[in-house]
């Protein structure tokens, strides 16, 4: 029986120090609530009382906002508390995902450089969805508050891998700028 207990470094979890350098800062943020709502777009917004869901490359603002994942799905950050399940009156499905997704903030002038090492992001090409593949991991990436401040959501089970990737990318950015 192979004992692999030492093969993988222990997971640190969400409580971890930020990655910081002069051009970049990466940190895990806490949210009160993340709610997945599926249904016709307008109905999704109605139930969470938000005027729009941010798509790419729009900038989300404030602490209570929604991002658009696909034609009929949004993720609401710190929105109202809603019951899980089918809302017959509103015609939407709701799932609390507060525990499912980690939220990481990436800011600084090299933020986009870091993200571009993992994902094909073009700020000149609009997309209705903020869903991206970040080196094979499904993530949601969008701007928050400013053009150099980004937020990325992903499944908590991928935190260790995505954080290690980000650390490796940060080293590459430093090396690239050094040369």
């Amino acid at each position: 029986m192979r004992d692999d207990r030492d093969k993988w470094a222990p997971a640190i979890g969400a409580e971890r120090p930020a990655i910081k350098n002069t051009h970049l800062q990466l940190s895990v943020l806490k949210t009160q609530r993340q709610t997945l709502i599926s249904g016709p777009y307008k109905k999704c917004l109605d139930i969470c009382k938000l005027p729009r869901a941010t798509s790419w490359p729009q900038t989300a603002t404030g602490n209570n906002y929604a991002v658009r994942l696909r034609r009929d799905r949004i993720l609401v950050i710190d929105g109202p508390s809603l019951d899980d399940g089918w809302h017959d009156d509103a015609g939407v499905s709701v799932s609390d995902m507060s525990s499912a997704y980690i939220l990481v903030e990436i800011k600084g002038e090299a933020a986009l450089d870091l993200l571009n090492r993992g994902a094909d992001l073009n700020v000149d090409i609009a997309s209705g969805s903020v869903v991206r593949s970040f080196r094979g991991f499904d993530v949601f990436i969008y701007r928050w508050q400013s053009e150099t401040q980004f937020r990325m959501h992903f499944h908590h089970a991928n935190l260790e891998a995505i954080w290690q990737l980000s650390q490796a990318f940060e080293k590459q950015i430093v090396e690239y700028n050094r040369r």
Partner: protein, 934 residues
Amino acid sequence: MSGFRVQNRGLIDRHKTLSFQFDGKSCTGHPGDTLASALLANGIKIMGRSFKYHRPRGVWGAWFDDSNAIFNISLGAIQLPNCPAATTYLEDGMQARSVNTFPSARFDIKGVLDWFSPFLPAGFYYKTFMRPNWHLFEPTIRKMAGLGKLDGNIIEEYQSDQIHQSCDLLIVGAGPAGLAAALSASQKGSSVVLVDDHDIAGGSSYQQQSNIENKPASLWIRDQIAAIAGNGGRILLSTTAYGIYDHNLVALIQDSGFGHAPRLWRMRAKRILIATGAIDRQITFANNDRPGIMSAVGALEFLGRYGVLVGKKIALLSNNSHTQNTANLLREAGAEVETFDTGDNSPVAIGGKKLRALNIDGKSHSCDVILASGGLTPVVHLWRHGGGRLEWNEAIQAFIPAQATTGMRAAGAANGIYELDEALADARAAALDQPSPKVQSAYQIKALLPDINSKKRQWIDFQHDVTVKDIELAARENYSSVEHLKRYTTLGMASDQGKTSNMAGLAVMASLQNRTISEVGTTTFRPPFVPVPFELYRGVKRQQLFNPPKRLALEAEHRNVGAAMGEYGGWLRPAWYGDDDPHNTIRKEVISARTHVAIIDASPLGKIEIMGPDAEKFINFVFYNTLTTLKPGKIRYALMLSERGIVYDDAVITRVDQNRFIISCSSSHVEGVNNALEGWRQDGNDPDRIFVHDTTQNWATITLSGPKAGELLSKLDMSIDLSPDAFPHMTFRQADFLSVPARISRVSFTGDPSYEISVPTLHASALWSAIAKAGKSVQAAFIGVEALSILRAEKGYIIVGKDTDGETMPHDIGFSQPRLRKESAFVGDRALHTHAANGQNRRQLVGLMVKGNECKIVTGAHLIDQSGSKPRSIGYVTSSYDSPTLAHPIALALLENGTARIGESVAVWNQGDIRQATIASACFYDKGGGLLNA
């Protein structure tokens, strides 16, 4: 050939001298030299050997169009194999060795193979080494084959940087056309990226030594670069575009210097302009592979960039109007040049390792170099990668870009326009997406067809020793399609990728078949255009970042109690707990689970929610079992099939309310099941009435399993009536745990009473602590996946993908009823009624038992039928364990007609021995199922 350095020519830094060795011989060069140019300057002409016959090879071209000189290079502690000499810049202290030669390129023992060449034509290997057995010959042939060798040392910090970028216009090639295009586009405000594989922009301008738009070339280039940069354009030098993929994704490799990993740019361009120039087409004539025979364009490149004149007495064999200019430039540099027309009959190169003369019409013309120019040929490889079509241009005797995919243009020489001013106008128009101006070309060329009747050997592919006779043989054996020809003869394979051999090969095939080259067509060029190291694709995906597993929210808690974490279905999960002998530990965990209660982290189990008014109809269609009859609060086991009726996954399905179901599928199948559900949702359904949410990672699940599971659950104070009548097997309850919502499912995959308790993952730690604390009073034990697997096998609960395979249908594992009775349509229905699905000898799930104290059968062992003259496999063992509960080994197997054979004995081919096992029911534990309902 005796190359030498020419004063006042080239871009090299003559103030500094670099020392290096080639095949053990000391040489010198200058910064800016490539290994090939430095060797030529040192008078070294033989730089490699051909792959098959080990014939001596010199360089053919001065850049990517040379596939003859390939080196293993060491510099300090770094050694890299398969470096092209013509594109590797010289560094001080380099030690280069020609690949696949011994002891050197000049004196290679395996050169004797050439004596046997009459017996080794194309296809020889396929025909000869089939009998008696390829594997007899394979080791020797593999030893002889191959190019460079790895030294096995790891280069620290050798890690590729990989970046996604985008631009409005990507221009490939920073020659005059590329520079002009980049400036035009950048002036209009486009975001422009201009890439060139050299470390200095200018392209072919260094060959010609002429003015560009009334300015010296170097000044013109400098001005263009400054203006492009001033307009915000980016210029990436030492960067090769080696592939164009879907949606205008262009792969760029940026050289970072010897020993440093190259950078990969994944450039997404709205438009792509190919300005890659043109290379010389080779001429097919007798002995045309001798060292010292090279392209005329290559000779000008060596002169213009590196200040190297490739010979003193040059025979220039050509069929086009560029000859005179080439001859003049070489004469100005000090060479004696004699020109010859390819129309003259039967040229023959005279000489061996040293070229002595060119014979034409029986007359010998002494020379040390033959420059062969069969006509300029646009570099259209990237054009084809991008899906562009080619058309044959009779006037220039070459394939040129024709119909393009959206957003792709070609300009300048790559577009078949060889006059400088016309090329610049063409490039500027292309940059602005305007129509190309009409061009009156002064370039003249005569059609070039080989002498296919010559009895002397004429080379087509220098790297692989493909000759005209090999192509004749291929045509005779009906490998006449260019794609078949390529594979039969290896023409244009490996690093050449058709750059030099393609046109020559097509011309031979055209002559043989009395067709035009246009009718023969060309092979499909595929990425990479130049060889790229594997590291380019690896980048940071190494060690712990190579396929990293998902991590449990409770990992720290597991490690705190000694879990040996292992990879299971994409997750890092506890295999067992403790530091003692694993087998004993796992055995104890199983016994604890059967006698007291086990605590299992089952968080990876799927929790995919199906919601909406049509959820019931949808889920009934997607799953094999009937689910319309499932009442809210109830749970049902169900199978998901592929359209071929094969078991894809199993799940327990909870109906929460009328419009909401939770699918708890296998841990490793969550993404697959979710994708399948999303796919079927869009197929014939109203997508506004069904929604699929994968909430797996929102919920942590801890399973309590064993006779005392209910007792332990009761200690958590969740205010649930746990009596069997109030909370029976296969039912579901919602409750609160420390004021957060909790879900409790009474299901089992051990065979004992079990409860799955799920809370939001953020509260998993609190639940774990509470269970661990309460568990002490009931002798609860943490158990890992290994013990769980044994518990499942004892009960006959399958693991899909382990106890099933790509042919297993539901009735093979005991689920026959829906196939016979379910009235509504479901995925896989039709496949379950085919002849194959109803065959008598389908492999069915059974149990196996061995006698007394015999050791267990290994997983994978074949069950065999010995009644015939040869043993025949009739199934195999899918799972096998020493059962701590039953105190004897057990196994599950898929066996032909297995259920009808229960009680019989079957022979098992077990690690070289034949053993006997008794076929049994797949369920070994609590066959009546009474414990589940206790």
